[in-house]
């Protein structure tokens, strides 16, 4: 079969022989064929697509990008505490057993007047300005943030931050791993010892060290505004901790690929080293990296959540809409609720405590399902 392309500026139609079909397209088609058969992977993909749609929806809302919507409680029924800053949205609360000041106020447990029980009203305007449950964050101050808001806008940041971090780490790992595997010798020795050392430090602790050191220096990058600059610094410092694992994977793969006939053929036909690495070795050792990327994209928000939970304020503003942050800040309130149990007021707003965490879990597990499906589809030995 021959195709004729309409000539632009050339005299007439040029006839060319048919191009050979790209074998990589076949590979993707085959992958998709096997992926389609894997129910769990499809479920994971479906959830991820849903999250992506939510992220796109959230982008269309015009809201401040670096702040969760916060509310402060005007505690009229309980001594009249009113700490609202000018311009802050306020919600009305009253203690259990007292009479509500007016309609639309939230009843709170006696011992913990700052805790608002969960509400299922989907509309922010139905029972007051408190969508989908909320919680106190600052001890001493009565300040609430909206979980609905955090989850809606957090998915943007979660996807952006985790994909950027993992992609950056994978790119560095791909480069160092292929250089190390291809050249061997002293280069290999130096890089791999560094990888060994980095991998023997638990990742959470490495991240804590790097991030705390980086945020001790007030640096602004590329003349960005302070907030974006700090987010970028955060991403970079996570990347620093992320490359060693990829380097090890890629090196292992390169050691296998390097010995194969087509690399030998390329070398025999006089290809330069850079070309051999970039055109022959990297494309053929990249599949395990894809699998690891898809696994790690689920891990990043978990790590961020762990850090925030320990009390390290990662993001530049306290109420940063990111899923890990929202989940950690929510679960951090658990002792306050459980301490309530010892004075006889045992209120556990499960919605407030666990929905953000479960959203995080859902994200991570669907990423894992999808990654597992990809692995099965790409690796014929594992196919069941």
């Amino acid at each position: 079969m021959s195709t004729s392309t309409p000539g632009e500026g050339s005299a007439g139609a040029v006839t060319r022989p048919a191009r050979r079909r790209n074998p990589r397209i076949d590979q993707w088609k085959r992958t998709w064929y096997f992926l389609r058969r894997n129910t769990l992977a499809l479920v994971g993909l479906g959830i991820l697509v849903f999250f992506l749609l939510v992220a796109i929806y959230a982008l269309t809302q015009s809201v401040p990008w670096d702040h969760l919507t916060t509310y402060c409680a005007t505690n009229q029924g309980n001594g009249g505490i009113d700490q609202c800053l000018p311009g802050q949205l306020s919600i009305c609360t009253y203690a259990q057993g007292t009479t509500p000041p007016h309609a639309g106020c939230y009843q709170t447990p006696q011992a913990y007047p700052s805790v608002v029980p969960p509400t299922l009203s989907l509309s922010p305007l139905a029972a007051g300005p408190l969508p989908l449950g909320s919680l106190t964050v600052l001890p001493g101050g009565l300040l609430f943030f909206s979980i609905y808001d955090g989850l809606l806008r957090g998915i943007d940041w979660t996807l952006l931050v985790s994909i950027t971090i993992v992609a950056g780490g994978a790119l560095a790992g791909l480069l160092l791993g292929s250089v190390s595997g291809y050249f061997g010798g002293l280069v290999d020795e130096v890089i791999m010892r560094l990888v060994d050392i980095m991998l023997s430090i638990p990742q959470l602790l490495l991240v804590i060290m790097v991030v705390s050191v980086v945020s001790a220096n007030n640096v602004t990058l590329f003349g960005l505004d302070p907030t974006s600059s700090k987010v970028l610094l955060l991403i970079i410092s996570f990347m620093i901790t992320w490359w060693p694992f990829y380097t090890r994977i890629v090196r292992g793969q390169v050691l296998v690929v390097r010995e194969q006939k087509f690399v030998e053929a390329a070398r025999a036909s006089g290809a330069k080293k850079g070309r051999i690495i970039l055109r022959h070795i990297v494309p053929n050792s990249v599949y395990p990296v894809f699998i690891q990327i898809s696994l790690d994209v689920g891990t990043v928000p978990l790590l961020i959540a762990a850090l925030v939970f320990l009390g390290f304020r990662l993001f530049p503003t306290f109420y940063f809409p990111e899923w890990g942050t929202v989940a950690a800040l929510s679960v951090q309130q658990l002792p306050a609720f459980l301490t309530g149990c010892q004075v006889g007021v045992c209120v556990l707003p499960a919605w407030q405590l666990f929905v953000p965490g479960l959203a995080l879990f859902l994200y991570a597990i669907s990423v894992n399902f999808f990654a597992d499906g990809i692995r099965d589809a790409l690796d014929p030995r594992l196919r069941r």
Partner: protein, 416 residues
């Protein structure tokens, strides 16, 4: 090669790794502002003497002669500290000094602004190594207990999943291993706590009724923390924050530092039991993530071994299936399990800060959880780096133990 020779060789190889880890922390420390480095090394000054970290003094502060002399003067204490750390010298010299200080356990002092003061009020200014040595034994006990749990659960379950391949047991193990990846540690820990408080608590009115706490303490307080409340044990319980709770005329004494061992030495068997019981829930939660990953490897290695010839031979000889699985296949798949456990150890140890924070256990992770807090005061770099070094040493030493175990199980490694 003899086993002892093998161990010695492994121990010698330990030195470059430790130097490497210290070099990485050195690079990170060097990136800190100079004041933070001084504070990490010597602890922060009390507010009264904050001038000791100013390079140049204005007249009247500290040793600088005041008016009528209006000249500023160089700060002798600042210069002494900078010189002691070698901060005015080339980078390689600084590196050497850092290594020397690290190897001689001069890991710095707890900053005066450290949030770890919420844990122990008198902690400020103490050497980091002293503080860590109080908390290390608890972490070791917890780690040993969770390792036992990990091996006790993952090996039989993995074998079961392999034997019942693609049956419900296998699928269940699969789901568990996925959730282990995806469930945040703090969420799991909190869920477990809530489940216990609600499940047990609602029957007892949220009060603890244990043989040693008949006074009816709040259950939530009795479930968390390393030690029983002070009203328990007839009023002798409860050193709430200190390394060992054995109380001797107002001085806390620790024969070994290990809570269970200390209690046994003191002949207090109920206390020993109590401290073990307190560790079981956190150990289970810590174990969960590692079990989830290990399970897949145990299952796959078991599947591989069960396809080998010697297993078929064993079967053809009419040996009962259970014996084949236990004796022939199980023992040979153990190598992979141990290797993977060595690789997973960093991941396993990384779970400690979170869990110790949630359960309020006096381990090294709790110290880390307090020292990284930057919402109240600045991060305590000395403690953060010290904890990281300590955890990394634990990982490295555990890896050596794994290697030695592997060599013991598979003689080919020693000979090769």
């Amino acid at each position: 090669m003899k086993m002892s020779l093998y161990i010695i060789r492994r121990l010698i190889l330990l030195v470059p790794i430790i130097i490497g880890v210290m070099t990485i922390t050195f690079v990170l420390v060097s990136a800190l502002p100079i004041n933070d480095r001084l504070i990490a090394a010597y602890g922060a000054p009390s507010p009264r003497a904050s001038w000791i970290y100013d390079p140049v003094l204005s007249p009247g502060t500290g040793p600088c002669p005041g008016p009528p002399n209006t000249h500023t003067c160089p700060n002798p204490i600042y210069n002494r500290d900078v010189a002691a750390l070698g901060l005015n010298q080339p980078i390689p010299v600084q590196w050497g000094i850092y290594l020397y200080r690290s190897f001689t356990f001069q890991w710095g002092a707890v900053s005066n602004y450290s949030s770890a003061g919420l844990l122990i009020p008198s902690i400020h200014g103490l050497p980091v190594t002293t503080v860590l040595s109080w908390y290390l034994p608890y972490t070791i006990e917890l780690a040993v207990l969770s390792l036992v749990i990990i091996l006790l659960i993952s090996i039989p379950l993995g074998n079961l999943a392999a034997v019942n391949r693609n049956r419900p047991v296998d699928q269940g193990a699969r789901v568990m291993s996925f959730s282990g990846f995806a469930l945040p540690g703090f969420l799991l820990a909190s869920l477990v706590l809530v489940a216990v408080v609600i499940g047990v608590g609602s029957n007892s009115g949220y009060l603890a009724h244990t043989p040693w706490c008949q006074s009816g303490e709040p259950l939530w307080n009795e479930l968390t923390g390393s030690w029983p409340l002070s009203s328990c044990f007839g009023g002798t319980g409860g050193a709430t924050s200190f390394p060992s709770w054995i109380h001797n005329n107002g001085i806390y004494t620790t024969p070994t530092g290990f809570p269970t061992v200390d209690a046994l030495i003191a002949g207090n068997y109920w206390v020993a039991l109590d401290s073990v019981i307190r560790m079981i829930l956190p150990a289970l939660v810590i174990a969960f993530g590692t079990i989830a990953i290990l399970l897949r490897f145990v299952r796959n290695s078991m599947l591989e071994v069960m396809n080998l010839d010697f297993v078929r031979t064993a079967r053809s000889e009419g040996i009962p299936e259970s014996t084949v699985i236990k004796r022939h296949a199980g023992r040979n798949s153990l190598n992979v399990t141990i290797t993977v456990m060595g690789l997973l150890f960093a991941f396993f140890i990384g779970g400690f800060p979170i869990i110790e924070d949630v359960f309020g256990l006096n381990g090294v992770g709790l110290i880390l959880a307090y020292s990284v807090q930057n919402t109240v005061g600045p991060v305590d770099f000395a403690l953060v780096f010290g904890t990281t070094l300590l955890f990394t040493f634990i990982v490295v030493i555990a890896n050596i133990i794994v290697d030695v175990l592997y060599a013991y199980l598979d003689p080919r490694v020693r000979l090769g």
